[in-house]
Symmetry: C2
Subunit: 247 residues, 2 copies
Amino acid sequence: MSGAVELVTAGILVIGDEILSGRTKDRNIGYIAEYLTGIGIDLREVRVVPDIEDEIVGAVNALRARYTYVFTTGGIGPTHDDITADSIAKAFGVPIHVDPRARAMLLEYIKPEDLNEARLRMARIPAGAELVPNPVSKAPGFWIGNVIVMAGVPTIMQAMLDQVAPKLRTGVQVLSETVRANAREGDIGGPLKLIAEAHPDVTIGSYPFLDEDGRPNSNLVVRSRDPEKLAAAVAAVRAMAAAIPRR
Amino acid sequence: MSGAVELVTAGILVIGDEILSGRTKDRNIGYIAEYLTGIGIDLREVRVVPDIEDEIVGAVNALRARYTYVFTTGGIGPTHDDITADSIAKAFGVPIHVDPRARAMLLEYIKPEDLNEARLRMARIPAGAELVPNPVSKAPGFWIGNVIVMAGVPTIMQAMLDQVAPKLRTGVQVLSETVRANAREGDIGGPLKLIAEAHPDVTIGSYPFLDEDGRPNSNLVVRSRDPEKLAAAVAAVRAMAAAIPRR
């Protein structure tokens, strides 16, 4: 592999007071991160903001200017604290109304007599957005510009991501190999730094852990889009680790 | 309670490629969020950035200008990818050297002959910072200006937070009560909005869940620093929920 590789990048925006209060523990960031890595999209940044319009608008506009895609989670339900759709419309400067396509989707799940004002909130979609189908509970997400708006409930978010993924521009997948060093981080930090400097097209991360014998150990994660460069760096890391006395 | 309440706010900055690649699932955000809520500090924003100096510097400077405190996690180990301390020094425009106090702490855990250049990296502390002791593995965190720099390993981060907490300015704790609505979100969205509008000094969040009978249900979380206003809003929410037919 050689030449310029097109990088496809992403940011995540998690919207919700319940994450910031600690009441709900986020499970979407790690899931989306792993998913994007798997399809060759580089997740570059995550932000978590409260249910406050100005905060959402500011974060969406900052992230969409920087990355190929922005994925948001949360705030698209039927209650007064669900202000994501209106905030996204404001960020893009477009009107927002009940979308007939979204309304029809809701009616697959909700009886016409139950389609009250609160539930119709879930059909409010910024003008110009494409819908993201929700196979779980019908109320759709949407895609406007480079921003993809998804539910906060993990099962629904995951189903929406499956709907969106085939339409995303994807990059060359980052290849990754993990070398178990059988050594303490502090014993390999010096030689590892030299290897990192000699292999500028790979990134090497060092992650300490306690191994099955209760001893401090290190996983060295080598990452690159180029298989040959990856292999060269991995060989250097393996040789280095093998030369460090275990203790 | 009446009059102005001093608000103490915070941001979290998670530093690490491994979180953005999905290889490591963050467990610190939720822990810190709950901890801060418990001592009356409002967590307002979280960001996750990669191990890139410019990204760390930019995020630290954005967050420290906005909030009373900024808590960072990750990037203070002995390897080349641990660049948090240097990035924080750059953000504050101060020099960074091996700190004799931090070196002494390391020597409580590490034999003098093992204190190589890599391990001494963990004693590099920006000028003017106070140290945050690390009861687990000695290598300290630090506190400079309003920024508190902690380890990424959850057990160590948690021990550092316990060291720091008694020195933090804390606010009046937010009181919270959860009302189980025994109703679908879409059935309560309308009346709940009216209650939220009538009680501007409380925030009301609605969180759907599937209950033990497999039926869609909703938890309504009412939050306020004022116990009387909280009680009034909770009473209104309970009365509303009781009036919605269960189905």
